[in-house]
């Protein structure tokens, strides 16, 4: 007999908040929860469609219940019951504080400086956290053409800090992007045609100190050093440093590696599976629970 959502809610605190073991969860679950860990309770988060949205919804249900979620279509602090498929899904607007439009979110909230954390995807990233969601190869005759910026370039530069989720491959982790949609810690100064620290290009603007704070991939979690250069912080369980380096198009700094990415806890996995995406829209399949967790669930 399937349990009601109320009965499942009652169960949350009975599920141990201890780390699961590798093999007891799948990679998208690890990534969604790694994203959730980037969110603080006092953040105003502006997230893009897809896994970033799943991640911040998970954060709102676990470690950051008071975080404010902004979605670019005009939604301020949606309290979501069903996972939205898009940033303008009415599901994302459920019980929101106010509903406006793009001028509200990109002007009143973002340009005005209220957004503390942006969470975005990307097709490729450079060593300095610059992101490409536009095209690979010659811009006018590209080998790959992607969707284009959307909110990426605005959110990625006007949010105080920004985190990305990117599929890691050699051709996506680059010394320099073919096209920079969203500049990272270093970028071109088109007035002088020099490659410079972003702080100098953005000098005197309110946004000079904003920039990427982390990157979550299918292989690890990355941070940026004081020079604005990416380094490997943790490898996902089962992934070796060599595998990470083989899937990186530049000489990656791995000297600051602290170990494995923390495994999600049983409680986090329970919340993700039962409350965030039980419809299996973003998660490929429902991973079975371990026998002892299943016993807790069955017992009620």
């Amino acid at each position: 007999m399937a349990k009601s959502m109320e009965e499942l809610m009652e169960l949350i605190d009975k599920i141990p908040d201890t780390p699961a073991k590798p093999g007891e969860f799948i990679l998208p679950e690890l990534m969604a929860i790694a994203i959730a860990h980037e969110v603080h309770n006092d953040d105003v988060v502006f997230a893009g469609t897809g896994l970033p949205m799943v991640g911040i919804m998970t954060a709102n249900f676990t470690n950051a219940p008071k975080a404010t979620l902004i979605y670019e279509s005009g939604i301020c602090d949606g309290k979501t019951m069903h996972v939205p498929m898009s940033v303008c899904d009415q599901r994302a607007a459920n019980m929101s504080s106010t509903l406006g439009g793009l001028v509200d979110t990109f002007g009143y909230y973002l340009q005005q400086g209220y957004v503390t954390l942006g969470f975005l995807g990307g097709a490729a990233i450079d060593k300095y956290g610059g992101v490409n969601v536009t095209s690979i190869g010659d811009y006018y005759n590209p080998s790959h053409r992607f969707t284009g910026s959307g909110g990426n370039s605005d959110i990625g530069t006007m949010a105080h800090r920004v985190a990305y989720i990117i599929l890691q491959e050699k051709r996506r982790f680059l010394e320099r992007n073919d096209y920079t949609t969203t500049p990272g810690w270093w970028c071109w100064d088109f007035k002088t045609n020099e490659w410079k620290p972003k702080k100098e290009v953005w000098k005197n603007t309110a946004y000079a100190n904003n920039g990427p704070c982390g990157v979550v991939t299918n292989m690890g979690v990355y941070r940026f050093d004081a020079e604005g250069i990416i380094y490997l912080e943790t490898c996902h369980p089962g992934i070796t440093v060599e595998q990470v380096k083989d899937n990186c198009g530049f000489d990656l700094n791995v000297s600051k590696l602290t170990g494995d990415t923390p495994c999600p806890t049983y409680q986090e996995l329970f919340i993700l599976r039962e409350f965030v995406d039980p419809e299996l829209i973003f998660l490929p399949a429902k991973t079975p629970y371990t026998p002892d967790i299943q016993a807790i669930i069955d017992k009620g």
């Binding site: 008071k66 009415q90 509903l99 002007g107 536009t134 284009g148 910026s149 909110g151 603007t205």
Partner: protein, 350 residues
């Protein structure tokens, strides 16, 4: 730019095919309402445009939507001035029809960003010629090398709807706040706005997010409102603070129930994810696409027949519940759970 008018507009009530015939002219600049393929896309209007063979559209917009998907499927878009062209696998990847047309050199793509397009429409709406915006310095979006309309020789001032420059980066002259970017106003020929309700004089209302539909309505020369229902104007005056578009910007009103299908109209009906997947799958090869267009666009005698072909069961499943959306439609691999309260609120309040 402002358009000084000597007398008020008077909105006329038209049928869908008459509105398309009168307002959707080949070669014109058009903006559609909603946001992405999921919310208030005036799909019936785009559907009728394709049936009437409207061509060479300059779509000036900020999203890949059900409308632009269909217009690209029929190769009716010549210039796509926008910032996000997702539709593949239903959002995160490039619209496949657009990708094919782009590769064949049939469409010019001009890239901006969501915030930039919102500001351009805001400028257009308030009659300002341009607007300063803290667009990302160092982004190739604001690199003079990458100006598709300029490269195509279209920024020569001959077309009054195409700005002479894509952008201007300048030192902010009032406060010493570093550099800022000036963006030209957007002011297309036609706005097509799908709303929940319109009064018979033209006052219009929707629930849910506003996207930039109010700004688009004021920025465009002509405004066609597609409404789920037309009600007596008096009905709209009971709660005027809930209305977004005043009647005097409206040129025509079309009553077209389910006219935003397969996108959603919050509190009326939800989006049809399975049908959107069918659209995306059809675009993967030209034969399938032609079959799709024949079956779903050209064969039905009217929009009503298109809906009848979709089936009553599906339309009932999509009908919105009190939350504004439907939990009866299978969006993923499992049915939606029956929720009473968001988990975050249940556990931690606001």
């Amino acid at each position: 730019m402002a358009r000084i008018r000597g007398k008020s507009k008077t909105a006329e009530i038209l049928t869908l095919d008459a509105a398309v015939k009168k307002y959707a002219l080949s070669g014109s600049q058009i903006a559609f309402s909603g946001f992405t393929g999921f919310n208030r896309n005036p799909f019936a209007f785009a559907w009728e445009m394709v049936r009437q063979g409207v061509k060479d559209i300059h779509s000036i917009d900020r999203h890949g939507s059900c409308c632009t998907w269909l217009l690209n499927a029929a190769s009716a878009i010549k210039i796509f001035e926008t910032d996000w062209m997702g539709w593949g696998e239903m959002a995160g990847k490039l619209d496949i029809n657009l990708g094919r047309n782009y590769k064949a050199g049939k469409v010019i793509l001009e890239d901006y960003a969501h915030g930039a397009m919102a500001m351009r429409f805001l400028a257009g709406a308030i009659g300002a010629p341009f607007i300063p915006y803290n667009a990302p310095l160092g982004s190739d979006l604001y690199n003079e090398k990458y100006d598709a309309l300029g490269k195509a020789g279209l920024r020569d001032g001959k077309n009054p709807k195409i700005a002479k420059k894509k952008f201007i980066q300048m030192e902010e002259p009032f406060w010493g706040n570093g550099d800022t970017v000036l963006l030209p106003a957007a002011m297309p020929d036609l706005a097509v706005i799908h709303v929940a309700k319109a009064g018979d004089k033209g006052t219009a209302h929707w629930r849910g997010v506003g996207t930039i539909d109010k700004e688009i309505s004021f920025a465009c020369d002509k405004v066609v409102i597609i409404a789920e229902e037309i009600v007596p104007e008096a009905e709209m005056r009971k709660y005027p603070e809930a209305n977004q578009i005043p009647y005097f910007v409206v040129d025509a009103i079309v009553e077209c129930p389910w006219g935003a299908f397969p996108s959603s109209v919050p509190y009326y009906y939800d989006y049809d994810a399975p049908f959107m997947r069918v659209m995306d799958a059809a675009s993967r090869n030209p034969d399938d696409l032609n079959k799709f267009l024949d079956e779903w666009v050209y064969a039905p005698a009217s929009w009503e027949e298109f809906l009848i072909k979709q089936g009553a069961k599906k339309l009932l499943d999509l009908k919105a519940e009190s939350t504004g959306y439907s939990t009866r439609m299978l969006r993923g691999k499992k049915p939606a759970p029956r929720m009473k309260m968001p988990l975050s609120v249940a556990r931690s309040g606001y």
